[in-house]
Subunit: 121 residues, 4 copies
């Protein structure tokens, strides 16, 4: 018989995914400039840390990329999107710790699991 | 030595979580009425099915709950939020199939994994 | 004495602006492909038409622009943003009819009032 | 002949509306608790102040209302929505100054124009 019930480690990874999807789709599109980048990064961290099983969120705005995009456009701000962000999220669920990251890879903001610790044997 | 590299099944669960967080935080807050409920449900399904590894999304609007909330308020529409939704998402990642659901539990819209199939042994 | 109370026409223009800001920031960031473009356009129209004083919303997705952006990227979908959209909104507020549009101008999605009718004299 | 071209004051009111719709639909749904309320309020202010013709944005979170909603629910945070917010936005467009506010009225978060100054005569 095959057991299809999720393990704690799988549930921890599901929780990590929820946080990434939430963070991205809540804040993508926010008007952002170099002067306002810190406040949106802080708001993203503190908002998502409210969610269950979320131990830590760290958001870095890639300021050079942001400044370059604004220099290319016609306005003095742009819309927040994945290429301006690097994010690390740590989940703690029933003793499993999951670290997940979003960063640019081949020109695309990729979300991926970095490590899963505390699987029951 | 402990291996902390994520399994395919864990990555599939991470992908399922991303889809739920995306769906919820992209569309929560949308003005919705009984007449417009079908169009937002269809848009949610088709939008999230664009995302990688997402085989199927089914969104049901709880129309009785929606009608009751509108009757209680002062307007003829309200904002889309979790208590008006039931969602099922199926992920297919490297041969692992994950089914996840969002539905109300104790008055709170709970996202959870339902089944994980195809783990490598 | 200067009267600073808003006129009905000014209030109608304020309502038109609310609808544009709502439409844009609710739906920007939605995963979109040529196949799902119609459903998100319909959802945008029906959602915003729920809002008060909103007589009509018409959303056209610029499919050529969308296809070109997807061909340039590494995925088979992209995120909805202003350069893929043309929108017309008609407001009716206390007998004033306002028509407003969003369309690309100099590479930037510009929202502007097109006409204001029914000002009291 | 009737002139349907918008006046500068009407355009200023349209701009005020855009800012309110943007602010509301960008940030509604954000997970919020008493501890994170300040950071989301600051992010909202700084984000919207990036937009054209926007001189000032002031966001106050109604902390008593927020605490009461959290006490009623099953979690230690909730979703940001209009009943937790008071917002004032000042627009300056071609010499016209518009002040607009959002606050609760009859249990509903109402956006309204407060004053329009600098109409050309």
């Amino acid at each position: 018989m095959t057991d299809t019930a999720p393990t704690d480690a799988e549930a921890a990874c599901f929780e990590a995914g929820i946080k990434f999807g939430s963070l991205y789709h809540q804040f993508a599109g926010t008007p952002v400039s170099p002067d306002s980048a810190d406040s949106v990064a802080t708001a993203m961290e503190e908002a998502i840390e409210n969610q269950p099983h979320c131990r830590a969120v760290e958001v870095d705005v890639r300021e050079d990329e942001l400044a370059a995009a604004i220099a290319d456009g016609g306005a003095d701000y742009t819309e927040l999107t994945g290429r301006f962000l690097e994010v690390e999220i740590v989940i703690d669920y029933e003793g499993c710790e999951v670290v997940a990251r979003m960063e640019m890879e081949d020109g695309y903001p990729l979300m991926r699991l970095e490590s899963v610790e505390g699987r029951s044997s």
